[in-house]
Symmetry: C2
């Protein structure tokens, strides 16, 4: 049994003693202990070596004292498993040298056997669970199909992902074929993560906010819905579609237990849109962790006051920035833990 | 008197024969005629030579048939006039080699005499007005103080502008001093644009959407409000704070006549937030201009249906992309012109 199951309780809508807290990208570059491993091993080496992934995953639990661990990995292991070459150039972002542009390109992509292609992830999860020794729950994750398509088509990061969007607008059948293949892979991948030991999973739709409401439903949410449904009897799911505030009600209606929100929406408005049957997760401005510690403490209190007691997981509104001092990250987490409502 | 004053009528809330249409960044890289001048002259040469700025400004009026011209210039002429070096490297974006980081850096910045530093803009406006010969109105513009601060502090484009945000969060007094200096410069600049002949002005807050609702009020909107107030008796103003949907009601309350919206909000929801006393401008997804023409025509009709008759200016939700075919841009404009509600 978990010694700290605050996160899972709150996801299930049960009363918890206090608000749980973790940080997106908490196993990351702001931690000197992570930087040591980053200098020694390449990105995919860190992902693919269960011992390294395990050590990195557990670092923020030991160093910062978060209420959950999140698997150290990357959303782009999925397109890699589907047959595309993915390079991760440090500080430069992802690069896919042969992106998908045409019907013919699609023949290079398959729905893989996840045990064969992503077995190292499940091995890492098993090891992490053993090492965590029931201290806190473990969050598994995958990218949303739309966000994965963005990289598979654009081939690299982008402010607008206009090539990915143009692909969907000009070749909708092709786009939907690809989205369904990504969805099928992701379902098998997340189910296997849960079977390996993940206590909950988060779906990251980092680029959902680039789509208008109708396109978000058509190109993103209908596929996320399939994933949530397929996980329904296995583990609680959290959807984080950054910027897609307009669809919080539809996301809540998928049956997901949690919805991540970014800092550009007030907790009150998010609750109004999402309704009362779902847990909200967020939404501290990551750049605000660069503020002096007393400001962080004050603003965390304001955030928790605004969310009120009940279905809330404290988190950032996006990943922690690499230049955040460790004691600022700790001040964020401690402020949540010490909050008296 | 203007032969086509649809835009001004709709901004004033008067009944117009049809919805006016223009496109953000309509004088831009998708036009082969613009590319000819771009290859021949540097960016600031194009901005600072009234004959070139005039020719570029009028190109989309002649070639595409938009209902308004918008001054060809850049928001970064303001930090330049305030004393900072600004480089615009083609296809790489802006670069400010000596950004503002400290109190001492602020001594390098001044509120300039706009006639002395930006006289070339007013000369361009006078020339454009003469050449337009009352065919369509001319839109002047400036960046919102927050967006200008982003560049002055970060020194270049960014996805998160976290250095600019950290500057504001850690040195709030300094930030507000700088924001007020930018505001004072911008007021004088826009007033002079109107005196030179601009029929209306748009305030571009490209990075307003990076701020949460409370920070948006504190770091952006309170300064935009000063600008709108200072322009009140001179010309109608349009605020375009991309992504700041949460503050549409507060933006409407400034007294601005128009509010730009991006494509990530439905027209119905935007109207609900903004109320009925303001004109909405937008909000076609720029990437959708890469779709086949029949799709563009269908989606324009859907957009106009959704906005309904009355206070709406058709536009994109952000600048036109460089890779949009000219006949697609024309199809967008023609679809608005030929719309039967």
């Amino acid at each position: 049994m978990l010694q700290n199951d605050l996160l899972l309780k709150v996801l299930r809508g049960e009363q918890a003693e206090r608000t749980p807290v973790w940080m997106m990208r908490q196993a990351g570059r702001y931690l000197p202990e992570y930087m040591v491993l980053r200098e020694k091993y390449g990105f995919f080496e860190r992902c693919q070596t269960p011992e390294l992934a395990c050590e990195i995953t557990i670092q923020p639990v030991n160093i910062i004292g978060v209420d959950a661990a999140i698997l150290f990995s990357d959303i782009l292991v999925v397109p890699q498993a589907m047959g595309l070459e993915v390079q991760l150039v440090e500080s430069k972002g992802p690069y896919l040298p042969d992106p998908i542009k045409t019907q013919k390109d699609l023949t290079r992509v398959r729905v893989p056997d996840v045990q064969e292609t992503l077995g190292y992830v499940f091995d890492a999860i098993k090891l992490i669970k053993r090492e965590l020794n029931n201290r806190v729950p473990l969050i598994g994750f995958a990218g949303a199909p739309w966000t994965i398509l963005c990289y598979m088509v654009q081939g690299k990061g982008s402010k607008t992902f206009d090539e990915a969007k143009a692909f969907c607008y000009t070749q909708p059948e092709l786009a939907h074929t690809l989205l369904q293949m990504i969805t099928d892979t992701t379902i098998a991948y997340l189910q296997a993560q849960v079977k390996a030991g993940a206590d909950t999973v988060q779906i990251f739709d980092s680029w959902g906010g680039l789509l208008g409401p109708a396109d978000f439903e058509n190109l993103s949410l209908q596929y996320i819905r399939q994933i949530v449904t397929a996980l329904k009897d296995l583990a609680p799911t959290i959807i984080f579609a950054k910027g897609a505030w307009h669809s919080l009600a539809s996301m809540a209606a998928t049956g997901a237990q949690g919805l991540g929100i970014d800092w550009c929406i007030s907790p009150q408005m998010a609750r109004q849109f999402a309704g009362n049957q779902v847990t909200l997760q967020g939404n501290f401005d990551p750049a605000k962790l660069l503020s002096p510690i007393p400001v962080i403490q004050k603003e965390v209190k304001q955030m928790l006051d605004a969310f009120g007691s009940g279905r809330h997981i404290a988190n950032l509104g996006h990943g922690i920035l690499p230049n955040v001092p460790v004691d600022h990250a700790r001040a964020f987490v401690d402020s949540v833990k010490n909050y008296k409502g």
